[in-house]
């Protein structure tokens, strides 16, 4: 187990170094600063590398306690992909189709937040491979906010990574990327699903480069 831990840390620093070399990624903490409090970073999702990029720009001390939420059917199992998902990035694996015999994924995520970790969450539910800027959000983000009303939800716009590593390609083209962190939002009292998801969506879209700063 110990050797696996060392290997995981080594691979993690390789991945971070590689992401930096290829994309020269820099964070822009526009609406908040890094914080060790449990948070939900919700981001647009267009590339397999998305959570790697968020992870890369987080201060190293926070990386260990910031866990991507990933699909068990893809990142689970065994082999290299599972090693990367479970050991290197310490992903929280959830079932896309909830198993009634197990705790519901939203409860699973709430438990992780209560233990003091932050989450990286992709509210579109899947990778966006269309020409649309952002797919409609699934209800997961709202349900997560309902269960954890005191947790800050930080919008994170990842720019350009979909051109670096588009769907179906595994060799990245080195292009500059940026990761912008917006002002955290909290579920308002009596706010319904559509209102919250619309607000979250606007908060995320406002971070795109070229949008007038607020």
């Amino acid at each position: 187990m110990e050797s696996k831990g060392i290997a995981a840390r080594f691979v993690a620093s390789l991945v971070v170094g590689f992401a930096r070399l290829v994309t020269a990624v820099r964070p822009e903490w526009r609406g908040c600063l890094p914080s060790p409090n449990p948070r939900v970073y919700f981001a647009n999702h267009a590339s397999h590398g998305d959570f790697v990029l968020i992870w890369t720009v987080l201060p190293p001390a926070l990386r260990g306690a910031t866990r991507p939420v990933a699909a068990r059917d893809y990142w689970g199992g065994s082999g290299l992909r599972a090693f990367v998902g479970k050991n290197v990035f310490n992903a929280v694996l959830i079932d896309r189709v909830p198993d009634p015999a197990l705790p519901h994924p939203i409860e699973q995520l709430g438990a992780v937040l209560r233990r003091g970790s932050s989450l990286i969450f992709f509210p579109e539910g899947t990778r966006n491979t269309t020409d649309e800027t952002l797919l409609p959000f699934k209800s997961g983000l709202y349900r997560l906010a309902q269960e954890n009303p005191t947790v800050e939800f930080v919008p994170v716009w990842i720019d350009n990574l979909s051109r670096v590593m588009p769907k179906g390609h595994y060799l990245p083209v080195p292009l500059l990327c940026s990761v912008t962190f917006g002002t955290p939002i909290l579920l308002a009292e009596a706010e319904d699903k559509d209102a919250f998801l619309t607000r979250a969506r606007h908060a995320l879209l406002a971070l795109r480069p070229g949008e007038p700063a607020q």
Binding site: A24, R26, N160, R163, P166, H169, L171, V173, P174, L175, L176, G210
Partner: protein, 313 residues
Amino acid sequence: MTAKSEFFWLSLGVASVLIVATIIGHLLAKRAGPEPNAVIVNLNQRIYAWWAMVGLVAGAFLFGKAGVILLFAFASFAALREFLTLTPTRLADHWALLAVFLLALPIQYYLIWIEWYGLYSIFIPVYGFLFLSIVAAIGGDTTRFLARISFVQWGLMICVFCLSHVPAFLTLDIPGYNGKQLLLIAFLVIVVQGSDVLQYVFGKLFGRHKVAPNLSPSKTWEGLVGGVLSASLLGMALWKITPFSPVQAGLIALIVCLMGFFGGLVMSAIKRDRGVKDWGRMIEGHGGILDRLDSVIFAAPIMFHITRYWFSA
């Protein structure tokens, strides 16, 4: 004098200029008082970045040919990354983009390493030009095809082909000057960058009339004339480290400064077209690496050909 002692005196000269600049920057910041003045903050950022850049170039020079080629290959990589980031490419261009980074760039610098003039001078303008369009066509996406492929070819010409002419000076065989070609690179870089800095200084002190208000709000006639003339005199003063006579050195410096100025103008036009102010954020206070290298990129091939045609064996 040997190349080593000349290199030592050059470094000392550049370092003294930077020390003076650093002191002036501090005095200006002090005089401006507690409220930070944007121009002075930017000036000091630029001066600190100059220390880093001069240190990097001097360090590469110590490793000779390998150091200089690696330095410029990396500069090409960073410049190309900035250029292509602003390129409206599409998914179908992925292979063409990969070919640019993984094949064209390393091959060009390898050809310079093995000093194969006949091939490195046509590799990108001919083979890169033709094969990139073939790769893009095989991608099958015809939307804005000509614009996309032109952009990639432009990036390759500017960031790799033109810039690679800086280390290419090492491949020139100049009678009575062999073993000293590094000093020609130092001459080019000092004159071009000196011209940029002097244009900035003259522009900030005396600038009134804009040269090209549509392209660049910061370029003035006063800056242009003062900067180019003083940098040409600087080039003339450096004739001892070149194979040129004082008059030749001054003339070449003048051509190099003018090319550098126009390089800045062309690259500004591209930035305007793409809707950005700087190419990137790599160098604090300056912007991206392309913002710093645009003048060198336009000056290097011209000075290379002048030197090769009239001075090499």
